[in-house]
């Protein structure tokens, strides 16, 4: 298996004193589905944003697809970001624009400033956008404004926008934290399909331990900015989960039944 992403000793300090990440080491293989779990404020969002340099890490090395991420100049950074799709808890769509326009925004990274500024898209790009929307079950919403959609539909638009980038990696920051259980399942199932059948590597921050255990090939546990667990969810023990969350047995709601370990 080839390594797609590797972090070595990555740290991030906000201001002078807030240590959000300290000495993070891990790597992600191509085609892997990795979940990052940990309590609020552990540094999960910061970690994802350091990977695509929405936030600049303070020290350490990040390698993605053979590139040293921190050394990229402005132009190379734009090019690099096209290879990574990002999905957000609050969808981050332009609500007043249509579904179609929002999905096409995923192509802006490939465009010259002029073509991008005026939103000139090729027929091929439009065709791809429509194809993705139909795969995600949104063919009847194409010309609707995004503020008329449900949360689950908005998140699928967010996924389509990320996929139209033709990314190698999807970074998902709590993609189901604002969704009801049904919509959550739909979104997680899509992410799984994207990973397994399109071969796109998925890295997802999650609040729900059960979901992380059910869908991932690997779980990374973060606590207070440090990686405190890494491993296959099938062999994860209850104490290890409590260690990540700094809790005592019986304080957390999750279910380590056999069934939840099945993928799919």
């Amino acid at each position: 298996m080839t390594k797609l992403l590797e972090l070595q000793g990555v740290s991030k300090t906000y201001g002078k004193n807030t240590v959000a990440l300290s000495e993070i080491n891990f790597s992600v293989n191509e085609g892997e589905f990795v979940s990052v779990i940990g309590p609020s404020g552990a540094g999960k969002s910061t970690l994802l944003r350091c990977i695509n340099r929405m936030i600049d890490s303070t020290s350490g090395e990040i390698n993605f697809d053979g590139q040293a991420v921190q050394k990229l100049n402005k132009k190379a950074l734009r090019q690099f970001r096209t290879k990574i799709g990002m999905i957000f808890q609050h969808y981050n769509l332009v609500d007043r624009l249509t579904v179609f326009e929002n999905v096409l925004h995923g192509r802006l990274g490939y465009k010259s400033t002029l073509a991008g500024a005026f939103g000139f898209y090729t027929d091929e790009e439009k065709r791809q956008a429509l194809e993705l929307l139909s795969i995600l079950g949104l063919e009847s919403q194409v010309y609707k404004r995004c503020d008329q959609l449900s949360g689950g539909q908005k998140q699928r638009v967010g996924i389509a926008r990320a996929l139209v980038q033709k990314p190698k990696l999807l970074l998902c920051d709590e993609p189901i934290a604002s969704l009801d259980p049904n919509a959550s399942k739909v979104i997680m199932d899509y992410l799984q399909t994207i990973c397994k059948s399109m071969g796109i590597t998925v890295m997802v921050n999650l609040h729900q331990v059960d979901v992380a255990l059910k869908y991932s090939d690997r779980v990374i546990g973060i606590s207070k900015g440090e990686v405190v667990y890494q491993g296959d969810p099938r062999f994860m023990k209850e104490e290890e989960i409590h260690h990540i969350y700094g809790s005592e047995a019986g304080e957390l709601i999750f279910n380590l039944s056999e069934e939840s370990h099945y993928v799919g």
Binding site: F80, G85, M86, F88, H90, L93, V94, H105, L108
Partner: protein
């Protein structure tokens, strides 16, 4: 203990009221303002208004001239607000937390906005009178500066409020800075920006009358002229026309708001 707490609160409130009354009384004494005469003269003023301050036939013969100046005033208000809006948008982009390039430009933008907004339109008129003399340009620039200050502030806050999340998403796709502005910031904030612009135009028409009196241009100049020549009938027609213009514009902008928002 508990009684004491409420007693203290009541005591504080009473002290505050006494303080306010004392300040009011002090101000009246210093200004030598006769409060009783002030209020009793309201009916008198009203009677004078009914007897003199209405348009007569002679006043209506001046209507074409009045309309002419009114249109000039409206156009200056629209022009000053619109051109100020363009500059304000650029400054707001630099000043907003979401879209700023760096802290230096952001501070400059905020400083300009504060400076221009907090100098009153009357003060600007007086300052500009020295440079441009009594011309329409003076009025235009006085309104332009105040509009620029106000709109920069309003636009900055709108952009901060409206486009934070989508800007993050577009930056993450690798979109260029300009693409992010045109594809995320503009569509998200446009209706609110236009709404602020309409508000500014309304405000400018109100101030334009005052500016006109000070700078000797537009409808304000005409009012001043009639008023000083004791032609109260014509002066009243000017006031009525200004009120009608303001109401019409407000109705129009409310209609536009309903359509775009």
């Amino acid at each position: 203990m508990l009684d004491n707490f409420f007693l203290r609160k009541r005591l504080k409130l009473s002290l505050l009221i006494v303080l306010i009354l004392a300040i009011t009384y002090g101000a009246i004494l210093i200004a030598e303002y006769d409060i009783i005469k002030g209020f009793t003269s309201i009916p008198e003023a009203f009677v004078w208004g009914v007897q003199n301050f209405y348009p007569d036939a002679n006043a209506f013969s001046r209507l074409p001239n009045i309309l002419n100046k009114l249109i000039e005033t409206v156009l200056i208000s629209v022009a000053s607000a619109s051109t100020a809006a363009i500059l304000a948008f650029l400054f707001a982009i630099l000043g907003s937390h979401t879209t700023r390039i760096n802290g230096f430009f952001a501070s400059i933008s905020r400083l300009f906005a504060t400076l221009f907004r907090n100098i009153d339109v009357a003060v600007w008129s007086m300052i500009l009178l020295f440079s441009f003399g009594q011309s329409a340009l003076t009025g235009y620039f006085a309104l332009f500066f105040v509009s620029f200050g106000f709109l920069t502030r309003a636009f900055t806050e709108t952009i901060d409020e409206v486009s934070n999340d989508s800007v993050e998403a577009l930056r993450a796709t690798g979109a260029s800075y300009i693409s992010t502005i045109t594809n995320a910031v503009v569509p998200s904030s446009a209706p609110q920006l236009i709404s602020w612009l309409l508000f500014m135009i309304e405000t400018n028409i109100r101030s334009a009358t005052l500016v006109g009196i000070l700078t000797g241009t537009g409808i304000g100049f005409l009012f001043d002229l009639y008023y000083k020549s004791l032609d109260y009938h014509s002066a009243s027609l000017v006031v009525i026309m200004v009120v009608i213009a303001i109401l019409a514009l407000e109705a129009l902008s409310n209609f536009i708001r309903r359509v775009i928002l």
